[in-house]
């Protein structure tokens, strides 16, 4: 489903301690309380902390309740709700295409360049492409790629950090 078609979402930037099982605690909390996760991305930021970006479906529960329940997890250190304006929010996608006709490769290259994406590899009629941008741009981009025979794709889910005030 395209992000733009979704009901309202909220983006939470969550700092957690790098402890075993912390992702299970966060995911388990969402499951148990019936909060819907739209996407979730996690990786360590340094030796002691990891940052999780969670995009939640605001219809499933009041965002205030979601934040407070998250905050009760002992390993959760900080939660910020991000707005689109000030924060930096990006998502990446990897796509493999089979354009079936070598003459169409150049067409795709042009499309990718237009979105400032990159072509990672071309092998015959098969192409590997990446794009990192705003989630809406990814929606657009993937829409335009559709006619070219998308074989596999993986989106990362949004990652975000609080922005400049």
């Amino acid at each position: 489903m395209k992000r733009s078609q979704l009901a309202e979402t909220h983006t939470l930037a969550v700092l957690v301690e790098n402890k075993a099982g912390v992702l299970a605690r966060v995911a388990g909390l969402f499951a148990r309380r019936g909060f819907n996760i739209e996407s979730l991305a996690v990786a360590p930021t340094n030796e002691t902390l990891s940052r999780i970006t969670i995009v939640v479906d605001a219809e499933s529960a009041p965002i205030d309740q979601i934040k407070k329940q998250l905050d009760k997890l002992i390993n959760v250190v900080d939660i910020q709700e991000l707005d689109g304006e000030h924060s930096a929010l990006r998502e990446m996608v990897l796509v493999r295409l089979d354009v079936e006709d070598e003459s169409r490769v150049a067409e795709v290259e042009e499309l990718v360049a237009g979105f400032s994406g990159s072509v990672i590899r071309v092998g015959g009629t098969q192409m590997m492409i990446s794009l990192s941008s705003r989630p809406n741009d990814l929606d657009d981009f993937l829409g335009k790629l559709q006619p070219f025979g998308v074989q596999e794709l993986q989106r990362t889910g949004a990652i975000a950090i609080p922005g400049i005030e």
Partner: protein, 581 residues
């Protein structure tokens, strides 16, 4: 100091001031039990791990100190899932120690391996899987800190065998005293914001029909004295929820008693018609609110809770205050100073009018009829010391105990409120008595509940923890039967416990108890007196009661509290009174 992880665990428990551990040994926790022999604390060997968990919980509630339960891995860990969930829902400070298979075998489906931290993640406040024995002192210290600070709750520590076993080099550790806990993600806020306190007090001074809705948080925060001061200062009536019975003496003229599904008419209706609910450490549980959209429709809400997630969760608050009840009420009292509230005479007389027409009441037994459970509880109450600790099971007997006992002291009422765990009473009573050996402790139990955990009476007998059990034997899973009578057209499905087995007297005697059966109303008092005079072993008094007695008042499930049903005889009486006026 050099030692192994097993020794370190016991030393850590001693360091935290633990006096009693309720537990049961087994493979993965064996090395720890070797250290139990040398430790300066008492270990109570239970007969089922669930019992150990409820004992720890009863101990914690009665003494105010965290309860400790220790069991092995696998089936023992899963046996404490129920008491952990129970303690989690009722915010009881507890630390559970579980054995685990050696670290290297985790994930291999080893013998008696369960994913204990995974299973208990959603029913503990926090849990740990320890990998390094050097971490034990600090983790134990953190666990006790987390269990007892902020909103209390159970914390579990899973200990792989390799780090506790003296024969395994992995277990070698150097003891270091723990350092003060500083957890970046756990900073309970105790003081309310001054502007919120001011706003709350303003509402409280102006309300015409205020009610203090006191919950279990008052007891957790040890704020009974502050609650009383606040109620008296502003002359505000108080309802004490199932979790808060005893937070204000029942004999206090401002105490309206228990609200909710089986609350008394006045407590229920006071909340319904209130214009300001002052919720202190209570959480708008569905058993209190009834159908939410019909609950206290005209009331503004001041809500104080240490757990901010409770604020605005169920009912939006006009003033929401995150903080510890004791600190917040103290600040409210300061803010009130010498100010006085508006006159509540009209409100109070409305309340006393209800109390007159709809008191808690039951129809006495017909001559020659069976014992009325309510009468038994009244006699038991009147025949026992006034600071008796009462631990209840779950069912009709629980509601009658809460209704008919007069709780004039805090921490004298133990029950499973949030989870509604049948079988809670006997082990919880044992835990309470282990912590408060000089007090009389009665378990009020149903025949269904009794059959779930009565084996712990063996523990009580062997460990010389002489609790007393009032077994209200109605030969039914009475609460379920009542629902089937009222809402399923009298179709009784799988609720008959009429036996003829077990013989509760023989069963109790076999477990080392003195056992007395009472069927005749004239024998009730003597049996209670005898039970109260025995202090060297547990006593079970089986009261054979009226089988089809119902608990009233009752707000039927899914109905608004305004539709509270009073007992049929009272309905008629009230109508007659109305006519006379």
């Amino acid at each position: 100091m050099q030692m192994d992880g097993g020794q370190a665990l016991l030393k850590a428990l001693e360091y935290e001031g633990v006096e009693v551990v309720f537990g049961y040994p087994g493979g993965a926790i064996l090395p720890v039990y070797d250290s139990v022999l040398d430790a300066g604390l008492r270990h109570v060997l239970v007969r089922h791990e669930q019992g150990a968990g409820h004992m720890a919980s009863g101990y914690a509630h009665a003494t105010g100190k965290p309860g400790v339960v220790m069991v092995t891995s696998g089936p023992a860990a899963t046996n404490i899932v129920t008491p952990l969930a129970d303690a989690y829902l009722d915010s009881v400070p507890m630390v559970a120690i579980t054995g685990q298979v050696p670290y290297g075998l985790i994930g291999t489906d080893a013998f008696q391996e369960t994913d204990t931290t995974g299973i208990t993640m959603s029913i503990t406040k926090h849990n740990y899987l320890v990998s390094d024995p050097n971490d034990i002192p600090q983790i134990v210290h953190e666990a006790f800190h987390i269990a007892t600070h902020g909103r209390p709750g159970p914390v579990l520590i899973d200990l792989p065998k390799n780090i506790t076993d003296a024969m395994n080099p992995d277990s070698a550790m150097t003891w270091k005293d723990p350092i003060p806990v500083d957890l970046p993600g756990f900073k309970p806020v105790l003081d309310g914001k001054p502007e919120d306190i001011t706003a709350a007090v303003e509402l409280m001074l102006q309300a015409n029909r205020p009610v203090i809705y006191a919950g279990g948080g008052i007891l957790k925060s040890r704020a009974a004295a502050e609650l009383r001061a606040l109620a008296e200062k502003l002359n505000i009536p108080v309802v004490t929820t199932l979790m808060a019975r005893g937070a204000l003496p029942d004999s206090h003229e401002l105490n309206l008693g228990m609200p909710g599904m089986h609350g008394n008419y006045t407590a229920v209706m006071a909340m319904q018609e209130s214009d300001l609910l002052i919720a202190l450490g209570s959480r708008f549980d569905d058993r209190v609110t009834g159908r939410l959209d019909g609950f206290a429709p005209d009331a503004k809400v001041v809500h104080v809770d240490i757990d901010p997630a409770e604020l605005n969760k169920i009912r939006a608050a006009d003033v929401a205050i995150r903080g510890d009840a004791k600190n917040v009420i103290t600040a409210m009292l300061d803010e009130i100073g010498s100010a006085t509230s508006v006159d509540h005479t009209e409100w109070r007389s409305k309340l006393s009018g209800w109390q007159e027409v709809y008191p808690l009441a039951y129809e006495p037994a017909e001559p020659g009829g069976k014992l009325k459970p309510q009468m038994v509880l009244e006699r038991l109450r009147d025949g026992s010391p006034e600071d008796t600790i009462v631990a209840s099971g779950v069912g009709q007997h629980q509601m009658w105990a809460s209704q008919y006992w007069k709780f004039d002291h805090a921490y004298t009422w133990l029950n499973s409120g949030g989870l509604g765990t049948m079988g809670y009473s006997i082990p919880a009573a044992i835990g309470a008595k282990a912590g408060m050996p000089d007090r009389t402790v009665w378990a009020v139990d149903g025949d269904g509940c009794f059959q779930m955990t009565c084996q712990e009476l063996i523990t009580a007998a062997v460990e010389k923890i002489p609790i007393k059990v009032a077994l209200l034997n109605n030969s039914y899973l009475g609460m379920v039967r009542q629902w089937q009578e009222m809402f399923y057209d009298n179709r009784y499905s799988e609720v008959d416990l009429s036996g003829p087995v077990p013989d509760y007297i023989k069963l109790s005697e076999a477990m080392g108890c003195v056992a007395i059966r009472v069927e005749d109303p004239d024998e009730v008092e003597a049996a209670i007196e005898k039970a109260n005079s025995i202090n060297d072993r547990p006593v079970v008094v089986e009261f054979v009661t009226e089988s089809e007695e119902n608990v009233y008042p009752m707000v039927p499930g899914g109905k608004s509290n305004s539709e509270v049903v009073v007992p049929p005889f009272q309905e008629k009486m009230a109508a007659r009174l109305e006519d006379e006026r």
